[in-house]
């Protein structure tokens, strides 16, 4: 099982008639059990790339090969819940086979027990995002795509959920693609980090993290982060000089 | 021998349904060895639809339309049913004394611009140099609505179908002129039956005997309605009124309208009036034919 991405370009034509190049050539692949992290400035084309990878947008140059019949779990950047279905129904509708114990467990982890019967309009944004996470986990995905899943959550909760994602990824051979603005999340969860340029996005640097996820202590993480920060600073300095 | 079936399209509120009630009540259909399949309909035009759709063998219409259809290719034919025509009615106290007084007045015309009575009235007035269409204010509308409007006093005068005129008469309106009364001036020798039984020529040819029996049967029914007030009792509930005066007017007018002339006389007068109508109504009304189509009248009834 392997995800092959080879996009050579993507252009949007806006309603006003202008064209915007959103993706420059981007090429990478991801294996089962691997967590790829996309980090890049706001508006550079990350969500667009995810939509292409998931087959939601066919209007691009290049090729994407998804593992056939892979179950996909996705957390969109906005929750995208069905407003007319309760929290529980929203989850069950995409994962009809889920058993009650599993669902209860999910809701417990995400602290959603009190909200099972609420409609999305009755949730805070953070709660809605958690429902979206529950939905993505509930399908037991082969390919998990997370577009800033931990935004709008408080640090404590975000930390616990990060652990959960790590557990999920460790327990089954899931391919994971994570978009985040948090270097901390990236370093704690990722196996390979892709740093993207501003629009049109291309891969500035691909940074593999050699230490296995469960062996990364606070010290290692701090070291990696420091290394990455030094790197981007020198790069930025380099660009400023050139 | 099994009875011949004839399918009839009948307007429920029309006089044909009175006749049918009489036929049924007196067993005239069995006597004529006919089985009548009656479709009751709620409007005049529905009969034409039934005919065109092939759901009825006989319905009521006028020779004007039959001739027009014939000239356009549909071989229908006509046998007189009633010579009752509309009348111009005015309120009892109205200053309008003659038809000429209609000038400058508000005249309601039921049935629209191609109504026979209206066209005949126009032709008659033209003879006196009056163009009613421009000299009077004409209000077209649905007959029942115009009858109500006349009662309201919204109209100075109204030209309506005879049954509505009967209603107005019973309410105290004055009959300024019946259209049958002006026909002689237009060249007719006697009362002309504008309305008749209409059926398909080919169908009639195949059911010559049944048609003859049908017409004989209706004649008997008409005769009963003329002679027997008991027969009228049966019809009264169908007229939609319980008012004795109005019932009497209905009866008298109905009896007046029963055709009594020979079919050839009828046809000759129809031919004359057709020319008059063609002149007033134009091509829109009569279609491409300037003369009454020769086959319009059905002649194969014994005793005519």
């Amino acid at each position: 099982m392997q995800l092959e991405v080879d996009i050579t370009g993507k252009t949007f034509r806006s309603a006003a008639g202008e064209t915007h190049d959103v993706l420059a050539p981007v090429r990478f692949s991801l294996g089962a059990g691997e967590v790829g992290v996309l980090v890049g400035p706001s508006g550079c084309g990350k969500s667009t790339m995810l939509r292409i990878i998931l087959g939601l947008d066919h209007d691009f140059q290049g090729e994407v090969t998804r593992p056939p019949n892979a179950r996909i779990g996705m957390v969109f950047q906005e929750p995208r819940l069905l407003p007319w279905r309760s929290v529980e129904q929203n989850v069950r509708l995409v994962a009809p086979e889920i058993d009650d114990a599993k669902l209860a467990e999910l809701f417990r982890i995400l602290e959603l027990e009190a909200h099972r019967s609420h409609y999305p309009g009755e949730l805070s944004l953070g709660l809605a995002r958690r429902v979206a996470l529950a939905r993505a986990f509930a399908v037991e995905p082969d390919l998990l795509v997370l577009d800033e899943p931990l935004a709008s959550l408080d640090d404590a909760l975000a930390g616990r959920l990060r652990e959960e994602i790590a557990t999920l990824v460790a327990s089954r051979p899931v391919m994971t693609l994570l978009v985040t603005h948090s270097l901390d999340d990236a370093v704690r969860l990722g196996d390979r980090l892709f740093f993207l340029s501003p629009r049109p996005a291309r891969i500035l640097a691909e940074v593999p993290i050699a230490i296995p996820r469960d062996a990364r202590g606070e010290a290692e993480i701090a070291a990696i982060k420091a290394g990455l920060e030094r790197r981007t600073q020198s790069e930025r300095a380099g660009r400023d000089v050139s | 021998r099994a009875a011949d079936t004839i399918r009839l399209a009948v307007q429920k509120t029309g006089t044909f349904s009175w006749e049918l009630a009489t036929i049924r009540a007196n067993g005239l259909d069995k006597e004529a060895n006919l089985s009548l399949a009656v479709t009751e309909l709620a409007s005049t035009e529905a009969g034409k639809i039934a005919m065109r759709a092939g759901n009825a063998d006989i319905m009521l219409s006028d020779w004007l339309w039959v001739s027009r259809e014939r000239s356009l290719g549909a071989k229908l034919t006509f046998y007189p049913y009633s010579s009752a025509l509309g009348a111009v009615m005015v309120p009892a106290s109205s200053p309008i004394k003659t038809l000429a007084d209609l000038r400058g007045r508000k005249l309601a015309v039921a049935g629209g611009p191609i109504d026979k009575s209206w066209l005949l009235l126009q032709a008659r007035m033209k003879q006196d140099g009056i163009d009613l269409k421009s000299d009077a204010t004409i209000v077209y509308g649905a007959p029942p609505l115009l009858a109500a409007k006349a009662l309201d006093g919204e109209m100075d005068a109204s030209l309506n179908f005879w049954n509505f005129c009967a209603q107005l008469e019973a309410k105290g309106f004055r009959r300024l002129a019946g259209i049958e009364d002006i026909l002689p001036k237009l060249g007719a020798k006697g009362p002309v039956s504008a309305v008749g039984y209409v059926f398909d020529e080919t169908w009639a040819a195949g059911h010559r005997d049944a048609v003859a029996r049908f017409i004989a049967m209706t004649r008997k029914a008409k005769q009963l309605l003329v002679t027997s007030d008991a027969a009228w009792e049966k019809v009264a509930p169908l007229t939609g009124t319980t008012d004795a005066a109005m019932l009497k007017t209905y009866r008298d007018r109905y009896r007046d309208g029963i055709p009594r002339r020979s079919i050839d006389d009828e046809e000759a007068d129809a031919r004359v009036l057709y020319r008059v109508l063609a002149e007033v109504g134009g091509r829109d009304l009569v279609g491409p034919a300037p003369e009454l189509d020769p086959g319009t009248f059905y002649h194969a009834v014994p005793g005519d």
């Binding site: 409609y119 | 309909l41 709620a42 639809i49 039934a50 759901n55 007959p143 109500a148």
Partner: protein, 245 residues
């Protein structure tokens, strides 16, 4: 409660108006009620109302289901929209009378012809409304359903249908009223029974109490259905909507 009050208000206004303009111009409520009772006792009311309701129900279901399907298709598929649009406009703007007459001429004065003609008259308005609804669908939810590989029918039922619900409600309400207006014409022109037939007869006799008795009986039936069935159902179906603060 308020509904009842409002209804009572309607009756009161009617009654007062009738007293003012006189029974010839506007029959009073008791006069109409009396006719209703008379017709009900003779059984004629139920006969005609039943015949009409059956036609209305059949034509309505036919037109709504077919019209919604076509409207959805035209809203989704640009090609279908382009192709179907001139037909739609034509059908929309063909007078009821013409459609009914043609249907009767072609298919005979039959029940099937009547129902088909009525359905054809209503069809395009359902198409137009559902097409607008489909065009306004939220694409982001579609994407969600696609990504999670929701089966077609489940996605339609849970993702699309609730978004179309207000359009369906609008099409159904105004559609029912349209069907009802047209069934009368169809009955007037070629059916031997039904409320339209009776109204035609009442009109010929200019019997306004009868005219109103039959008209209002149908309205009353719809009012009862609305109050007891549609509105509770609607309230349940739109529970999710945030209420005004």
């Amino acid at each position: 409660m308020l509904r009842l009050l409002s209804f009572a208000l309607f009756l009161a206004i009617w009654w007062i108006a009738a007293l003012f303009v006189g029974g010839a111009k506007l029959p009073s409520p008791p006069a109409v009620l009396q006719v209703m009772i008379g017709e009900a006792e003779s059984g004629a009311l139920f006969l005609h109302l039943g015949a009409t309701l059956a036609r209305v129900a059949l034509a309505f279901v036919l037109a709504m289901s077919l019209g919604s399907a076509i409207g959805y298709l035209m809203g989704r598929v640009k090609f279908a929209d382009r192709l179907g649009d001139p037909w739609l406009i034509l059908l929309l703007n063909l007078p009821a009378l013409v459609v009914i007459v043609l249907a009767y001429i072609w298919a005979g004065l039959t029940e099937a012809a009547a129902i088909a003609a009525i359905a054809i008259n209503k069809l395009p308005t359902a198409v137009v409304t559902l097409r607008e609804g489909t065009r306004a669908l939220d694409r982001s939810l579609d994407e969600m359903a696609t990504v999670f590989a929701m089966p077609r029918w489940r996605a339609f039922r849970h993702v699309v249908l609730p978004q179309l619900a207000p359009y369906i409600a609008a099409a159904a309400r105004s559609g029912l009223s349209l069907v009802w207006k047209i069934v009368l014409v169809a009955e007037l022109l070629g059916r031997p029974n039904g409320v339209g037939f009776e109204i035609g007869v009442a009109f010929q006799l200019f019997d306004t109490p009868r005219l109103l008795a039959y008209s209002l009986t149908f309205a009353a039936v719809v009012l009862v259905i609305e109050t007891l069935l549609v509105q509770p159902f609607e309230a349940r179906a739109t529970r999710w909507r945030p209420r005004a603060a």
